[in-house]
Amino acid sequence: MTEAEATRFLSQATFGPNTAAVSELLSIGLEDWLIAAFEKPASLHLDTVLAGFPPDGRFFDENGNALPEVVFLASDSFWKTAIEADDQLRQRMAYALSQIVVTSSDSDIGRAPQMMAHYMDILTAGAFGNYRDLLQNVTYSPAMAVYLTYLRNQKADPVTGRVPDENYARELMQLFTVGLVELQPDGTPVTNPDGSQVELYDNADITGLAKVFTGLSFQGAGFAAPLPLLPLPAFYTPLTMFDEFHSTEPKSFLGTSIPANTGGDESIAMALDAIFAHPNVGPFVGRQLIQRFVTSAPTPQYVQRVSAAFDRGDYDLPSGTTVGSGQRGDLQAVIAAILFDDEARSAASIQDTEFGKLREPVLRFTHWARAFEINSADASNEIALRNTNSVQLLGQHPYRAPHVFNFYRPGYIAPGTETGAAGLTAPELQISNANSIVGYPNFISVYAFGLSPKEDPGQPAAYVADYAAQAELAADPEALLDNLDQLLTHGTLQAETRTRITEVLNGLDAATEEDLQRRARVASVMVMTSPEYIVLR
């Protein structure tokens, strides 16, 4: 394996390669790296977030708004963990899952960072487990119940005409498990003889499934206990089923029926089992995970291989070692299948005009932070990292999508584009526009020049990058570019980009240390805004 191949792999599998990570991968090889990744302890968020709470645990003011000192704790923990944690693949997997099974702090969850941290931990702890278990834990999470409005959802009342809230029933199927139409194992829709697709369910199924998600409320108090009276752990422990509020009707959906008077916990288990059993889950979830890690428009064959790993529950690495438990839905098998597939690893893919993806803006930033070995990823003093959703910043913020449909849709085909004309799905193009084209360079420049605004300028600064290695080379643009190409673009930097950067560098002084630092930083921004960086191949 070459340094370029190692850098490329880590660009796909982590929050960004750096020199040490590349060396480590080169010394142990891909397979041992993967196995080690599965065994690294998970870096979780809840304890960190709770440690930041006031001693009495009271985290809200008289208006029910989160106190300023706690509101960003979960977000801060994300940045710190993504950039510094050792369990990089697990963290990437959790982040990828957060874009499929979406909850967002752009909601009432934003008032309770411990609720979000609990949710983040479900995805993190479950990242290498079984997808069925993930669905179970997500369903019982306070965060999802608040976000998709089934917290304290009640059975129907024929007197008032009240019916169960349908939100979770719909999105659980449409977004988290099976999608809308029947899929072949390679992710392409099944078509009828007349060319139409096969819809999986109609509104009657939704109404039937909605009955299942009734009766859940916070643990440790009455069903309708006012929020300020809840024991504080209620926000970060699994919900409890209150059967007196759970629907006793038969619950019919997706060709199955849960008998009348089945209890709440049992109904949920049966419902999740039935949905999880649908053959769509492997291709539906698998294709999206490929999009998060490797390429926006995987070939159907690639999708088929990944969904086969989902269904088998294990995957054979090249040496013959098998990873995964053998149980359908094993996420170790899935991520191994994604990263070790020929389509992900081969040099031929780099030359394939339809392969690759725009890097997510969040991942461009974390890559910068890791590649230039910032002194600390403690985000508590970083105003610009509190909400990077604005098009003037990164255009996305982790766990803060604008709605349950994530930042972009997996099936997005961009109009008026060449990827669109070729029928390629390109989700990240959905957040690319005339504003983001400007916002991202401005954002990365601010950090590259160490000018990010601080809440308290008196505190020792975090996010201070180390450009020493690059400054040392900066008197020689060619050498500097070789270094940056290795670090950032795994050898794909084009001659014309190099020429442009060289021209600019030659117009900058190279006499003092300050000059050399400036050259190094300008060059890094130019590389990180070049098409060959923006598009990960």
Binding site: V163, N167, P415, A421, A434, P441
Partner: protein
């Protein structure tokens, strides 16, 4: 004319899409006397993401209907009564509507007080209400819907698919919106020298503005952004940096790279042009609410103010308000959104008067869907047909078009739980707007392919 059309295509630097076959064949029959694009006109789509509850927007006002409503919506009205300041949905709080010609027998309607801005426009004759609009494949009712005998739009009640269907007559994944098709007709008549500014998006990347010839240009509410590094680099290095960010002259093979490069080039050029135009133009002085919608409509007004510098005579704008998916806490969320909606649309109308083009700008609301009449406690679930507003000096306002079904369950347009089966299709809603915009009948038929399924005569709200 011929060379100018080619100039437009090359300045957009976008390839013709292979999938636009049907539009291309329409172009083959192009008649130089097509869309009337003399003088200026603009359409502004205000999309209410999440689906605004139609039943909590146009409420029954006559006592008998209100009583029916209050019974079905008891728990929701109870949560309104708990709000500080008391209920804004009690009958006495509503703003009565007095339509000039529409007749609903003894039934009357009112708006919540938060929509006072729209109420005033309605009374002045500058706003119309179009009742029970939504996606349809053919006219139908509860019998057709319930027996599965009617042809229906795909994926009803699914947010993203209904948003897409409203905008483009097809579920998520479609590529051409009817706002874009209107823009295409205008482009074919050489409406716009500054073609990149014909479709302006203030929000999101939605399909509504996408056409074959025209593409949305995204602008923000905080002025035109510029790459700071270019500005800081000075006179010699600045242009070099600009060439870098625009990947000037680059020719790559990878399609994703090519698209990124094209987007960069088009965006940076358009940003520069718009920025210069705004610097040179005069400011719109009408005050706008400092709100999500207010900021967008203020920016639209400011952009319209510099239309001559931008070289446009036909524009379609897309703005959005989010948060209408009120499955719970509706009494808390919806009023504030409606306040923003009403106040911002009123301010925008005033701004068009300031610019002396009030009858040249037409604004209309749209949404994923309306909602259920039944409630799930303190909220409502996904519906279908909804009631919408059309505002502008050219609007035949002060009247209600389409229909407002009764506040009961089980009527002929009830799809269950009071979800309304639309009586006005999106095509029927869009056609008068397109006609006003300057499209000929044949251009309308091409832009709104389903229109032929709705033989009822055009609504004359504009």
């Amino acid at each position: 004319m011929q060379s100018r059309r080619n100039f437009l295509k090359s300045s957009l630097a976008l390839p013709m899409m292979a999938s636009s076959g049907s539009m291309l064949s329409a172009l083959a029959g192009f008649n130089a006397q097509a869309a009337d694009t003399s003088s200026y006109k603009a359409l502004v789509c205000v999309f209410l993401f999440g689906g605004m509850d139609c039943h909590d927007t146009i409420l029954p006002y006559d006592q008998s209907s209100y009583n029916d409503y209050a019974q079905i919506r008891a728990s929701l009205l109870a949560s309104y009564a708990e709000q500080p300041g008391g209920s804004t949905r009690s009958r006495s709080a509503l703003l009565a509507l007095d339509p000039s010609s529409a007749s609903f027998g003894s039934r009357q309607f009112g708006l919540p007080p938060q929509l006072s801005g729209l109420h005033q426009l309605f009374e002045q004759g500058n706003a119309a209400i179009v009742g029970n609009v939504g996606p349809l494949s053919e006219p139908t009712d509860s019998a057709g819907f319930g027996s599965n005998s009617a042809e229906l739009p795909a994926r009803l009640f699914s947010h993203n698919d209904q948003q897409s269907t409203w905008m483009s007559f097809a579920p998520e994944g479609s590529s051409l919106g009817w706002g874009g098709r209107f823009g295409d007709a205008a482009a074919q008549s050489n409406a716009n020298a500054g073609a990149v500014f014909s479709q302006i998006a203030l929000a999101g990347n939605s399909v509504f503005l996408n056409g074959d010839l025209v593409s949305p240009y995204r602008i923000g509410v905080d002025g035109v952004p510029s790459i700071r590094l270019i500005e800081l680099a000075g006179d010699t290095l600045g242009p070099l940096l600009r060439d870098h960010f625009a990947s000037a002259g680059s020719n790559r093979d990878n399609l994703f790279e090519r698209d990124f490069i094209n987007l960069s080039q088009v965006s940076l050029d358009a940003n520069d042009t718009l920025d210069r135009a705004l610097q040179e133009g005069s400011l719109v002085s009408t005050p706008f609410p400092d709100s999500e919608l207010g900021a967008q409509l203020r920016t639209v007004a400011q952009t319209i103010a510099v239309r001559e510098t931008l070289g446009v005579s036909r524009q379609v704008f897309f703005v959005a308000l989010h948060g209408f998916d009120t499955h719970s806490a509706q009494a808390i969320s919806l009023p504030a959104l409606q306040q923003d909606l009403g106040d911002s649309m009123a301010a925008f109308f005033t701004a068009t008067q300031e610019l002396s083009i009030a009858n040249r700008v037409t604004t209309f609301t749209a949404a994923d869907f309306g909602r259920t009449l039944t409630v799930n406690g303190d909220g409502t679930d996904h519906g279908w047909g909804g009631h919408h507003f059309v505002v502008g000096g050219a609007v035949n306002g002060g009247d209600i078009y389409g229909d407002i079904p009764v506040s009961q369950l089980g009527h002929d347009q009830d799809a269950g739980n009071g979800r309304l089966i639309p009586q006005v299709s999106v095509e029927q809603f869009a056609a008068p707007l397109g006609s006003w915009f300057g499209l000929t009948q044949s251009e309308l038929d091409a832009a709104l392919p389903g229109l032929a399924n709705f033989p009822a005569g055009p609504l004359n709200f504009i």
